[in-house]
Amino acid sequence: MTTAVDTTTYRDALREALREGLRRDPHVVILGEEVGRYGGAYGVTSGLLDEFGEDRVLDTPISEAGIVGAAVGAALAGLRPVVELMYVDFAALAMDQIVNQAAKARSMFGGQTGVPLVLRTQGGTGRSAGAQHSQSLEAWFLHTPGLRLYVPATVTDAHHLLLAALREPDPVVFVEHKALYTTRSDLGAHAPPPGVSVRRREGRDVTVVTYSRMLHRCLDAAQALAARGVEADVIDLRTLCPLDLEPVVASARRTGRVLIVTEDTLTGGVSAELAARVTELAFDWLEEPPMRLAGEDVPIPVAPALEEASVPTPLRIERAALRLLGRRA
């Protein structure tokens, strides 16, 4: 007789974190478009309105700047708001509130105040949602002093990093991935804190650095590589601020070859910062310049094959790793 393993989804793991947050801290409120009756465009907040009522879970009009701004004010005035921005693409409508307000209040006002705000949003491709609903814009937040930036790839991290975000005194941008909501696995009881990168697979031949959905594609590629006798060391960054490059550098010093895989567009993206830092910190051990495999420098098309061609796939990751190793694909 086997016991049923308690698996859960990324979506449900997020919801449980929100539920726990709402339960343990009366100052937590959730607000955003369709977070209540509809349960969230991707179902993350489903059921929370019924359980916690309209004072804790607030459906808002379609007013991104106003909503994020209201959350900033709520945070300044003693609440711990969790605001859901339905697509990270809509951050473009709220950048003033995110960058000029939330991120700067503490510093601008000389440390008198803080903005304990969690901005949940989701990005990425995978649903042929087109150029305005498929971007990966985390580089904007990485480049903004004052923000923290979490990018969970796994069910367990989705849960625990969100719980951790709910304890931060500073604004956290929490970027989920639309293609991960239905991924399913055990929910771990613990996870390392934000700012700790985790090795998801061990290997001696090439260091692969990634986060969010691309982790899964890297692991798939690593499996294919293993069949060709190449062992990849796959490291999941989990949070981009704080950023933990120690395991990456340690790995790079062993392998001499680093492949950085991100879904955001190449130029000026997160992969650039990672490549620069890896070069800075592991220069003497590198056999090749860190290789960046990222989204193509194009607006993301709707046609599914084009969409998929615009981001790294397991096959492209595999080929890139082989190229980096100087081997024919």
Binding site: E33, E34, R37, Y38, A41, D59, P61, I62, S63, A65, G66, D89, F90, A92, L93, R127, S128, A129, G130, A131, Q132, H133, L266, T267, E287, E288, P289, M291, R292, L293, A294, E296, D297, V298, P299, P301, V302, A303, P304, A305, L306, A309, S310, R316, A320, R323, L324, G326, R328
Partner: protein, 342 residues
């Protein structure tokens, strides 16, 4: 009613819109469209046909994510539309835009937008261009009631009024933004008052009555052409879910029944039958024609080849400007295969 557009024209366009939406909805369910989102304008045909037919050739417009109807009313080609929604190279946007970004600039279409409110300010600039170029054209922004809560609308209304531009803001008020009924999104539902408060004319019209929409639109467009911009609220009901698969659990059955009773197609058909302008055979023929036209469009879309992957980097910049290099091409340069490092 103008001499050139008859009530039968309005009806025909509405019937075609409905047929298009039904056909594309089925295509979606069969997995033939690109992507997981498809927003149908069934129930909004009166707004689309009534307003669309009142516009002149040369008038420009922007549409929102639920824009097939307006697009068709302005002369959209169902084949190229269907191919676009299917993500095919034969689509009007080469399969890159899909349903939410469908556009055909030859119709004066400045583009559809998947950002709620994103296309609204564009008509301010287009109207500025019209005045500058002396074209005499009006520019019309179509958007949903949800966009009534986007700040950029008020910035745009103020600019249009301040500069006395040939602009009409056309709010297709289908009562819902996703699962949020308009009275749960807006504290005041008197949209005409919002318009007046910004110095524009505000008019609300029952968009289940296509001829009423046409008449209001004709008048409002004429006014706009003279530099008196307006906000027109086209009251209607979203018959189905937000997206094709949403079953609208947030609405009561009664509400749905009541909303669907305001069917613009049935209403005009009934009226014309009552006036002996239309008989059952003509109506049936109209519907059959429309269905055939849309079936043909679906067949065209299904048969059309997908976009060429090699075209991925095209149209990011103008054709005579260098395209961004592909990541693979860049890697080939930086990490040449089989070559050892110096």
């Amino acid at each position: 009613m103008s001499r050139v557009t008859s009530p039968l024209d309005l009806l025909r366009v509405m019937v075609r819109i409905r047929a298009f939406e039904e056909a594309v909805g089925e295509l979606f369910v069969r997995g033939g469209t690109a992507g997981t989102m498809l927003h149908l304008s069934i129930g909004e045909e009166g707004a689309a046909a009534g307003f669309g037919l009142a516009m002149r050739p040369g008038d420009t417009f922007t549409t929102h994510h639920r824009g097939h109807g307006v697009f068709l009313a302005r002369g959209g080609d169902p084949r190229r539309m269907m191919a676009e929604i299917a993500g095919k190279a034969a689509g009007s946007c080469r399969g890159r835009g899909g349903s939410m970004h469908i556009a055909d600039v030859t119709l004066g279409h400045l583009g559809a937008n998947a950002i709620v409110g994103g296309g609204i300010p564009h008509v301010v600039g287009a109207a500025l261009a019209a005045r500058h170029l002396g074209s005499g054209n009006v520019s019309v922004a179509f958007f949903g009631d949800g966009a009534m809560q986007q700040g950029v609308l008020y910035e745009s209304m103020n600019l249009a009024a301040l500069w006395r531009l040939p602009v009409v803001f056309a709010c297709v008020n289908n009562q819902y933004g996703m699962g949020t009924r308009i009275d749960r999104a807006a504290a005041s539902l008197d949209f005409d008052a919002r318009a007046r408060a910004f110095g524009l004319r505000g008019v609300t019209v029952d968009a289940s009555d296509a001829t009423a929409v046409f008449e209001t639109a004709t008048q409002v467009l004429a006014d706009a052409r003279e530099g008196r911009p307006a906000l027109v609220t086209l009251d209607c009901f979203r018959f189905y879910g937000h997206a094709r698969k949403d079953r609208s659990p947030y609405r009561t059955e009664e509400e749905e029944r009541e909303g669907r009773s305001r069917d613009p197609v049935a209403r005009l058909a009934d009226r014309l039958r009552g006036e002996d302008v239309l008989d059952d055979d003509t109506l049936t023929a109209m519907r059959d024609d429309a269905r055939r036209e849309m079936d043909d469009a679906v067949a065209f879309a299904l048969a059309a080849p997908p976009p060429d992957l090699a075209a991925l980097h095209e149209d990011v910049y103008a054709p005579d400007r260098p395209a961004p290099p592909s990541v693979d091409a860049y890697h080939a340069l930086v990490y040449p295969e089989g070559e050892a490092r110096a």
